[in-house]
C-alpha cells in the first residue's frame, strides 16, 4: 500500500458487526425500465456481502447508486448513521467508498500508473511525480501479486489484465467500503485466487465488501452473507452457512436448474478446420483440429495467447508461419471477410471493444452479420429484420424493453448475449466463442450450453475459450492447455483433473526463458 493512499483516507476504525451502510427504499427508474424497486438492506461493517441475481436484475444499478455514478430516483442511503446525498463519485470516494465496475472503466490512452492515480496524483510544487507514481503503482501491483508492468499504456493490455488493474486501483481508494462487480469475469483461477487473497486481507483490515458474481462457488468461498435480487426486487438475504446453491438459484430465477452444464456427445464428423504449426503475434506452433459435432476447448492463464490464436485463425491478424486447412484444403485467411465466407463465426472476448456497437439498437447489433441474407433487391426486409432480432431476444432471454433500445442501456450480461446471439442465425460451420459466458447468469448459461448442442447437432464445430475451468472442463471434447503462447497439453473429455490442468497452465518452474507479458 502506498503511504499516500493511507494519508488520504484514514484507516478504518470500526467495530465489526455494526451497521455501516443502510439502504432505505433505494429505487431507480430508467426511461422504460424500473431497474430497482425500493430496496431495504443493511451492510455490517467488515462483512463480505455477496449479491446475486439474473442478468438485468439490478445489481450494477444498485452499485451505481451507491458510488454516485447515477442519481437515484428515490430512497435514502445512510452511511454511518447519517443520510448522504452521494450525488457524485467524488462524494462517495471521500467517504471511502469505491468500486470495481463491471465494465472496466479506465482510460485506455493513459498508462497503468496514470490510471491508478487518476484524480489522486502525487505531485510536488504542482508538478507530477511521474517516476514516483510509476514506482508506487508497480509496488501496489507487485504487492497484490499481479504480474503486470505499470508503465505501459493501458490499451495495450488484454481485457483481463485491465480488470486486474481496475481491482488494484479500487483497493487503494475504497478504504472503508469496496464493491466488486463481477471482478473475476475475465480472470482465470490463478488470478482469481490472488484477488480472493486480497479481498480476505481487506476484510481483515475491517473493510466492508460487496461482492457480485454469477459464479456460485465463489460466493460460497468468500461471502459471509448473500442477498438475492430478482427483477429489481430484493427477494432475500441469507447467512452463507444457512443456504445452498440450489436455494439461491431458485430465489434468483424462480425455478430450479438440475444441471447447468448441458453436454451431449455427438459422433465427430469430418474435419472442419485444422491448423498446422500456426504461429503469429502472441503464440507459436499451435496445431489444433476441430471436427463437426465437437467442442474444442482452449484453456490458459491471462495472456496465454488463446485470443491471439483464434483472431489470427479468423483473419483479423496476420499469421507469421504455419498452415490453415479448411475442410482438408489449405486456405489463406487474409481478412475476417475471408473467414466469414469460409463459414467461421467469432464471438470476440471484449464485448465493449470488439463485440458491440454500443450506441446502436439491440436489433441492429443482432442482425449485423446477416443483413445480406435478410435483404432482397437492396432493401432490408423489415419483417425479417424484426423476426430475426425478436427470435434471438426470446431464445437468449435478452432483457430489453424492445429491440430498439440501445445496446449500451442493457445490463452487462444481456450485452454479452447479443455478442453470442448475433452469430446464431448466421449458419456458420465453425463457431469460435471467446469467453462467451462472461457475466452471464446461471440460467442463461445453461441456455447457451444447450444452444451449443443445437449447433453441434447441425454439424457445426466449436472452439470454446474460457478462463473458467469448469466450463471448458465440462463441455470440451478436446481440451488444449496454453501457456505463454504455446500449446502445452491436450486432454480428452474429462480425462484430466482440474489440478493437473491448472498445473500445466501455470508450470512456472519448468518455464526457463519465460517471455515478458
Amino acid at each position: 500500500m502506498t503511504s499516500t493512499a493511507q494519508e488520504l483516507h484514514p484507516a478504518p476504525t470500526l467495530e465489526p458487526g455494526r451497521t455501516i451502510l443502510e439502504l432505505n427504499g433505494l429505487e431507480k427508474r430508467y426511461p422504460g425500465t424500473h431497474a430497482l424497486k425500493p430496496v431495504h438492506l443493511a451492510f455490517k461493517a467488515g462483512e463480505i456481502h455477496a449479491i446475486v441475481g439474473e442478468n438485468g436484475a439490478g445489481k450494477s444499478t444498485l452499485i451505481k447508486l451507491l458510488t454516485g455514478v447515477m442519481p437515484r430516483t428515490s430512497g435514502e442511503v445512510i452511511w454511518e448513521g447519517k443520510a448522504e446525498a452521494l450525488a457524485t463519485p467524488y462524494e462517495a470516494m471521500a467517504l471511502g467508498i469505491n468500486a470495481v465496475h463491471q465494465e472496466v472503466v479506465l482510460c485506455r490512452h493513459l498508462t497503468v500508473a496514470a490510471n491508478m492515480f487518476l484524480g489522486e496524483e502525487e505531485s510536488r510544487f504542482g508538478l507530477l511525480q511521474q517516476r514516483a507514481m510509476v514506482k508506487d503503482a508497480q509496488k501496489i501491483i507487485d504487492g497484490l501479486g499481479f504480474d503486470l508492468p505499470a508503465h505501459v499504456v493501458l490499451g495495450d493490455l488484454t481485457i483481463g489484465q485491465q480488470q486486474l488493474i481496475a481491482a488494484a486501483r479500487a483497493t487503494v481508494r475504497g478504504t472503508k467500503f469496496l464493491i466488486f462487480d463481477e471482478p473475476t469475469a475475465y480472470l482465470t483461477r490463478k488470478e482469481a485466487d490472488q484477488l480472493f487473497k486480497l479481498i480476505r486481507r481487506l476484510k481483515g483490515e475491517g473493510v466492508t465488501i460487496i461482492y457480485i458474481s454469477h459464479r456460485m462457488e465463489e460466493v460460497f468461498e468468500l461471502a459471509d452473507r448473500v442477498s438475492v435480487l430478482r427483477d429489481g426486487t430484493l427477494v432475500g438475504t441469507r447467512n452463507i452457512t444457512e443456504t445452498d446453491e440450489a436455494e439461491l438459484v431458485k430465489l434468483m430465477i424462480n425455478r430450479s436448474i438440475e444441471q447447468i452444464y448441458h453436454k451431449e456427445h455427438f459422433t465427430p464428423g469430418a474435419t472442419i478446420v485444422e491448423t498446422k504449426n500456426l504461429s503469429g503475434k502472441g503464440f507459436e506452433n499451435v496445431s489444433v483440429t476441430v471436427r463437426a459435432g465437437e467442442i474444442v476447448g482452449l484453456y490458459g492463464l491471462i495472456g496465454a495467447g488463446r485470443s491471439e490464436f483464434v483472431t489470427t485463425l479468423y483473419g483479423r491478424h496476420r499469421k507469421s508461419a504455419g498452415q490453415i486447412l479448411w475442410q482438408g484444403k489449405e486456405v489463406q485467411v487474409n481478412s475476417e471477410h475471408d473467414a466469414i465466407r469460409l463459414g467461421m463465426a467469432l464471438a470476440p472476448e471484449s464485448r465493449r471493444d470488439q463485440g458491440l456497437c454500443l450506441n446502436l439498437p439491440v436489433g441492429m447489433n443482432l442482425n449485423l452479420p446477416i443483413y445480406k441474407r435478410i435483404s432482397s433487391n437492396f432493401l432490408i426486409s423489415g419483417a425479417k429484420e424484426k423476426a430475426e432480432a425478436d427470435r434471438q431476444i426470446a431464445d437468449l432471454r435478452i432483457k430489453t424493453p424492445t429491440r430498439h433500445a440501445l445496446a449500451s442501456s442493457l445490463s452487462g450480461g444481456n450485452q454479452q448475449k447479443i455478442v453470442i446471439g448475433k452469430w446464431l442465425a448466421h449458419g456458420a460451420k465453425l463457431f469460435i466463442f471467446d469467453e462467451p459466458t462472461v457475466g452471464v447468469d446461471v440460467g442463461t448459461k445453461a441456455e447457451i450450453y444447450r444452444l451449443f448442442s443445437t449447433l453441434l447437432s447441425k454439424g457445426a464445430g466449436i472452439i470454446l475459450i474460457s478462463s473458467y475451468l469448469p466450463e471448458v472442463y465440462e463441455l470440451a471434447d478436446a481440451l488444449h492447455v496454453f501457456r505463454r503462447g504455446k500449446l502445452v497439453a491436450t486432454h480428452g473429455f474429462r480425462t484430466a483433473s482440474h489440478e493437473d490442468i491448472l498445473g500445466q497452465a501455470l508450470a512456472e518452474k519448468q518455464e526457463k526463458s519465460g517471455g515478458q507479458i
Binding site: E336, L358, P361, M364, P369, L379, K386
Partner: protein, 321 residues
Amino acid sequence: MSTEAIPAERSKRNFNALFGLTLLGLLLLMWIVLAFATPSFATTLNITNLLRQGSLIAILAVGQTFVIITGGIDLSVGAVVGFTTVIVALLINAGWPIWAAVLATLLVGVAIGLFHGFGIVKMGLPPFIITLATMTSLRGIGLLMTNGNSISINSDPFQAFSRGSLLGIPYLFWMVILVAIPSYVFLHHTRWGRYLFSVGSNAEAARLSGVNVPRTIFMAYILSGLLAAIVGVLLASRIGIGNPTQGDTYELQAIASSVIGGTSLFGAIGSVHGPLIGSFILSTINNGANLLNVNTFWQRVITGLLIIVIVYFDGLRRRGK
C-alpha cells in the same frame, strides 16, 4: 447520449419521425413568425427563392452526413463544388453535349471521393487531413486551369435549368427531392446504410461481424464527392460561370446543417431528413433577415445566437425523451 436518428426501425421510426417533426416544427414556427412579420415572406416569389437558396447546402449536407455517420468528416466539399463548376464550364464550352459534360463532372466528384477513401483506408490518414489537403489542392488546380478568372458558360439551356420550375417548385428544389429520396432509402432501408452506422459506432465490432469496413468508408466519401459534384453543376447553372473560388465555406455550412439536424460528429447518429431541415433553417435565417432588412452585421450575430438556441432546445427535447 441521445438515441434518435438511428436507422429507422419500426417504433424507432416513429421516434425519428417525431424528432424530424419537431425540428421541422421549429422551421415551420420560423416561417409562421416571418409570414406575420413581413408581408413579402409568404409570397410565391419568396418561397421559390427560399427553396432555391437552401437547395445547394441541403444536398451537400446529405453527403456530409453519410461521412459523419462513419465518424469521419469531409472538408473538401466546398472546394469540390468550386472545382466542378470549372470542369462543367470547360466541358460545355468545349462543345460537349450538356448531358455528357454533366456526367463527366459527376465522375470527377466520384474520383475525388475515391481518392479520399484511398487516403483514409490505404494510407491511414485522418479524414480531416486528407480532405483538408484536397480542399487546398483542388482550389489551386482550379485556379491554374482558369488562371484565376471566371469561365463564362456559353449555354443558355444549361443556365435555364436553375431558373426553371415544375409545378411551381424550382428545379433546384426538385433536385433536393431527387437526392433525398434515394438517400433516405439508402441510409435507412438498405444494409449499406446500416453498415455506415456500424462503422461509425464501432469499426472493430463491425469488421468482426463481417462488415467490409474499407468498402463502407470508400462508399461514404464517394457519395459525398458525388453529391458535391452535383451541387457544383447546379451552382454553375445558377451563376453561369465556372470559378474555382466558389463554394467557399460551404463545407462549414454543410457540417453545421448536419449537426443542427441531429447528426453527431462522433459518428453513428444521423438521418437524411435532419440535415435537410437544418440547411433550410439556416437559409430561412438569412432570407428572413434580408426581408426584415436586418443590418448584415446584426444578421451574423443573430445567426450565431439562433444556432445556439435551436440546438439547445432540440437537445433538451431529445434528452427529455
